[in-house]
């Protein structure tokens, strides 16, 4: 019974990662936008929803006690707007500028989470975030399973919506822009406009994932949104294969399994005083894994990104 409970807990976390990866896949896999500030957009969503749904707290702004679903919608809206502004500022420039700016966004979001106590509760974070099915908390198994069900439904909806979007005319324009920007522009598509939209929708999904997680754990703190989170999600997407929504979901579950498994392994193998060092070795291993996949299997498990040679156009095969 414990095993099923743990399995449900594990899958819930993995599927929340999957929602973030789906958002990142829309930005990177489909549109080719490099976001190094994933953790920032997730944090914006989590804090927005937490502020809107928690009971009134005199030490900080709000606690408006709104229903959870409204919190989720608010999280998507605010994260999406933040992503749209970021995209608007940088998407007319070289792609590296977006990477640097999103990195800056995640740094600043963490700074605000840590220091704007009136808004975010500071280092102590926000507690008492309402959890769906809180009434079931006495029977952990049922509670975990119902949480898993909710997260699974959200993931499935996000997956279906993205599959539909990527086959729609809108998604085809994004793919065209990724593959050959000049050709797409010559057909009258505004590159910047479409990219900002894709970036905003991806950001909204990340915000939703942050909100879902906040309501699953019931407590959030700035430490949850360190650059580590961005890094994990990137590894998940690259392992699964950029460009494939199925890959994003499978990669998330797989990498989270490796992560949790190796974490449990180091916890049993190393004495408590060496745990921190062992944990950093775990990160080294994942970082090396990311580089090795980029080098030897850039398409991951299910990816369909084509890596065109910019300077090798003349080496076209004779047909």
């Amino acid at each position: 019974m414990d095993l099923i409970g743990y399995g449900a807990f594990f899958l819930t976390t993995a599927l929340i990662f999957a929602i973030i990866s789906l958002g990142l896949n829309l930005q990177w896999g489909l549109t080719g936008l490099f976001n190094v500030g994933v953790a920032g957009f997730v944090a914006i969503g989590a804090y927005t929803s937490a502020l809107m749904t928690t009971p009134d707290d005199p030490t900080r702004l709000g606690g408006f006690g709104l229903p959870i679903l409204i919190g989720w919608a608010g999280a998507m809206a605010v994260s999406g707007i933040a992503a749209a502004i970021t995209g608007f500022a940088t998407l007319r420039l070289r792609s590296d500028y977006l990477a640097i700016t999103t990195f800056g966004v995640s740094v600043v979001v963490q700074l605000v989470a840590l220091n704007a106590q009136k808004l975010t509760g500071g280092a102590f974070g926000v507690g008492f975030i309402p959890r769906p099915f809180a009434g079931l908390a006495e029977t952990p198994l049922l509670f975990n399973l119902s949480n898993l069900a909710i997260v699974a439904v959200v993931t499935l909806l996000a997956y279906l919506a993205l599959e539909h979007l990527s086959r729609s005319p809108w998604g085809r324009v994004l793919k065209a822009l990724r593959e050959d920007e000049r050709a797409a522009i010559s057909l009258g598509k505004s590159a910047r406009f479409y990219r900002v939209q894709a970036f905003a929708v991806g950001g909204a999904l990340m915000g939703l994932a942050g909100a879902v997680q906040a309501h699953f754990t019931g407590f959030i703190a700035p430490d949850n949104y360190a650059p580590m989170l961005t890094f994990q999600v990137w590894v998940m997407l690259i392992v699964g294969g950029s460009g494939s929504n199925l890959g994003a979901v499978v990669g998330s579950v797989l990498v989270w399994a490796i992560w949790a498994g190796s974490g449990a392994l180091t916890a049993t193998l190393f004495p408590p005083e060496q745990q921190a060092r062992a944990a950093s070795l775990q990160i080294v291993a994942i970082g090396v894994m990311l580089c090795v996949i980029l080098l030897f299997r850039p398409n991951g498990l299910f990816g369909n990104l084509t890596y065109r040679r910019r300077f090798g156009l003349k080496a076209r095969k004779p047909s």
């Binding site: 080719g32 490099f34 190094v36 500022a89 940088t90 420039l93 070289r94 792609s95 590296d96 500028y97 990477a99 640097i100 700016t101 990195f103 800056g104 966004v105 740094v107 600043v108 700074l111 840590l114 220091n115 650059p227 580590m228 890094f231 990137w234 590894v235 690259i238 921190a276 060092r277 950093s280 070795l281 775990q282 990160i283 080294v284 994942i286 970082g287 090396v288 990311l290 580089c291 980029l294 080098l295 850039p298 890596y307 065109r308 040679r309 910019r310 300077f311 090798g312």
Partner: protein, 302 residues
Amino acid sequence: MNLQFVVDGLLTGSMIGLGAIGVTLTYAILRFSNFAHGDFMAWGTYATLAVVGAIGAMVGKVAPIGPFSFGWPLLVALVVGCALTGLLALALDAVLFSRLRARGQSIIVVMASFGASMALRSLLEFVFTSRPTYFSRAIQIAMPVGFGIRITPDQVALLVLTAVLVAATHLLMTRTQTGRSMQAVSQNPALARVVGIDVARVVRATWLLGAALACVAGTMVGILVQIRPLMGFDMLLPMFAAAILGGIGSVPGAVLGGLIIGLAEAAAVQFVGAEWRAAVSFVILMAVLFVRPIGLFGVKER
């Protein structure tokens, strides 16, 4: 008004500026923003620290030079540290970056540098733990120099060192064959190759120069503040902001950008609050991107 923040700002700015030279050269010549540059900084500092320790084990305790907190071992170690950091950059380029560059998608290289940055930093944490260390725990007496400003001998030495290094780098870039080849590759790699410039050599020179300056900047942080595995990663955003503010590819621009950001950070610490320091570079970065994305000394991209 207390003008102390000017000295603090110039010092922070020197460290950011020296680091930003490497960022801006990598961006202009290798055409990607290197997220691992901050970790070169941290690795260089720990390498210097390790060499200082090794020298100390061999010759025993060495008295510091004059009024400074360090003796000759640190100077020797700094040179060795720069060489080791250069080797690290070359090794990383050989196994990772050069192969991905050959595929022609610069953003994949950026992603790889992000992964490498995570791995390098965590490796430092594994070897040295995340506890801060110091080159010297001695406390220096700050000398008053008028206008309510106080400055320690170490700070004077490091400001002078920065000025010398920046001037030397500028001369290297404008007066030597290597430097001119680097500028040629940054402006037009295909044409540079046609006129017989050895691009592989230019790439090596870029890595060595950037890594050595990162090592010096990191060691400065180590002398003035403290040594932590995260020290380089925390400097990454200011360095990027300085490189973009100065204009990509411009060495004087990177240094000036670094000084501006350093002064702005110090002013923010004094007038707004120390906890918001890290937001300064982001605000400046956004302002540059909206108002003048090519930076102060930048040239339009072709």
